[in-house]
């Protein structure tokens, strides 16, 4: 008889949470709040949860709320697949399942004493929002805080209230741009990466968090490197199909790493060579 002494953990079992608020951000993006009084989920900026819709399935969704208030947990979801479409249709009062948090967070400690540059494309603002909120709470820990926010069009802009509020906040320098404008848009037009050479921050003493489509992060990194930002100070967060969140289902592999377990946040030198290989 060989009895192994290993603790069993019900890690793949969700906990039910009731939706308190549903906020429609755009035509296909929604923010769902739950108020986990009994089982608050303490998380760090950049971490994600596995969110379950009854009878339909789970999806990996990054947490978009303030890490200082684990009693209010938000997930911002774009309708792209079965589960995320179902999440976009849910009403307040509905129960969803949540397990987490998972993954390596943004390097908030490393950014202390330096300029904090955040580059977000589309719904990519959601995973960096907790980082922005936290940095503004502890404003004195950072140098300049710069947000470069891109969207396909004005109607695809998420967290408009936040963007307005941050615009008015002298603690953060916000630049918003859209790929293509519509009538009535008086802001910037052009891809977000074009802003990188121009906005004021110290390339030699900064930490950059980027989140968006891989191609956007790739061109952002190129522009940042050109400006003199050391590669190891550039961070990206990656997305792949995920079924478990704990590095055991195999789906989110990118070469040697499991995105869920070793990421989703990576420094540029860790993944640049991997992202450069087609279909890896």
């Amino acid at each position: 008889m060989t009895v192994l002494d290993i603790p069993t953990q019900g890690t793949l079992t969700s906990r039910p949470y009731q939706i308190t608020t549903v906020r429609h951000q755009t035509h296909d993006i929604v923010t769902i709040d739950v108020a986990p009084q009994q089982h608050p989920i303490a998380f760090r900026p950049g971490q994600f949860d596995m969110v379950y819709v009854y009878g339909i399935g789970e999806a990996a969704i990054s947490i978009s709320s303030d890490p200082a208030t684990p009693g209010l947990l938000s997930h911002t979801i774009r309708a792209v697949g079965w589960v995320t479409r179902a999440l976009n249709d849910l009403q307040p009062g509905t129960t969803i399942g949540i397990r987490g948090p998972y993954g390596r967070p943004w390097p908030m400690e490393e950014a202390e004493g330096k300029d904090l540059v955040i580059i977000a494309g589309g719904i990519g603002l959601a995973p960096v929002r907790p980082a922005i909120v936290e940095a503004l709470r502890y404003r004195e820990r950072y140098g300049r805080i710069v947000l470069l926010k891109g969207a396909r069009s004005p109607r695809d802009l998420v967290f408009r209230d936040d963007l307005d509020r941050w615009h008015a906040d002298r603690g953060i320098d916000v630049h918003v741009t859209v790929d293509s404008a519509v009538r009535g848009w008086s802001g910037r037009v052009g891809v977000v990466t074009k802003l990188i050479p121009r906005v004021p921050f110290d390339p030699e003493n900064c930490v950059v968090l980027t989140c968006g489509p891989e191609v956007m992060m790739w061109f952002s990194a190129e522009a940042l490197l050109k400006r003199g930002v050391p590669p190891e100070r550039i961070y990206v967060t990656l997305e792949r199909n995920m079924k478990c969140g704990v590095g055991s289902c195999g789906h989110c592999q990118l070469g040697p790493v499991f995105l869920c377990r070793d990421g989703p946040v990576f420094s540029w030198p860790e993944v640049a060579g991997l992202l450069d290989v087609r279909e890896l």
């Binding site: 009854y54 070469g255 420094s267």
Partner: protein, 394 residues
Amino acid sequence: MGAPAAQPTTGPAVLSEDGFARLLERLHNEGYEVLGPTVGDQAIVHGAVTEVDDLPRGWGDEQAPGHYRLVRRDDEAYFGFAVGPSSAKRTLFPARQPLWTAESRDDANFEIIETERPQRRFAFFGLRPCEVAAIAVQDRVLLHGVVPDEVYTANRSDVLLIAVECGAPAATCFCRSMGTGPGMESGADLILTELLDGDHRFLVRAGTRAGEELLEHLEHTEATEEDLAARREVLASAVARLERQLDTTDIHGLLMGNLDHPRWDAIAERCLACANCTLVCPTCFCTTVEDRTDLAGTWASRERRWDSCFSLEFTHTGPASVRNSTRSRYRQWLTHKLATWIDQFDTSGCVGCGRCITWCPVGIDLTEEVDVIRRTSEDKVAPWPMVPSPLQEG
């Protein structure tokens, strides 16, 4: 395996055929579900073994790339064959695993019902050394990962391993290249060697204190110098028959430095992306989850099942799949098995059992593919400092 304090102290022993039958009896009496080789579906598969007559006595196999046949042997060997398509994975990490269910009394709310996992005692009887090695690999992945897997842990917690050294490797085997066979010194509770010279008998060595206790309850004799010589003869003839090899010299650098090698395209022209290799592989662990409800929606279940990196859906994210081509999917499988597995789990994912070669419907042979890449690689070894840090944080 067992704690260091529980190392066995007895030397090699010999069991007669009768003693061998008693060993099986004893396992049943101790409440084990005994699983071992049986003849089923015209192959040798893991099945319930209640008595020695359930074993494939007198059967052998004939294996080649894309080829498997049972053949009659001209002796009465109990273990005269190499590994078949099934492995301990089917028991310890089954193809379908219920995760949890939920019940809903109205449209908006549900309750989660956790799945109970009854404590079971498994004895694996007649595992080849490569199969014991495969269990050790799965232990690394599913027991000693960041989070122990709940299903594997429940099944693995009370398991006895009775190994039989391999005297009958197939033409597709390459265990020696992977350091997993045909003989073994440790890793199982009991290690048997079937001796067919003279009296049909088994040389037995205890690998753990648990194995030793089993042996103490069985009538046995001390092994003689002739018995030990007979074992050496069995292993030597097995080694002589192992024709396939995989040169693992810096295999990580070789494969990861050749992700754009034209050979991947050539393989993709033959590969059907059928996933057979991942299903028969004793270490492949990828899974997906299936959600189901009853018609009224009052009940929902989540069931995990084996998945394969050969399927197009495997990497489906948002609008598209990451690995669309068969080329990229075969490359993922092979580089993971032989290279990045080492980054992730500090061991190769391959034990050299040859199942993926035998059960590939078009006979793709990974040893041949690696060899071609090695012979035609321009810079044989590529630098691989790409991702050192996150894995070391552990």
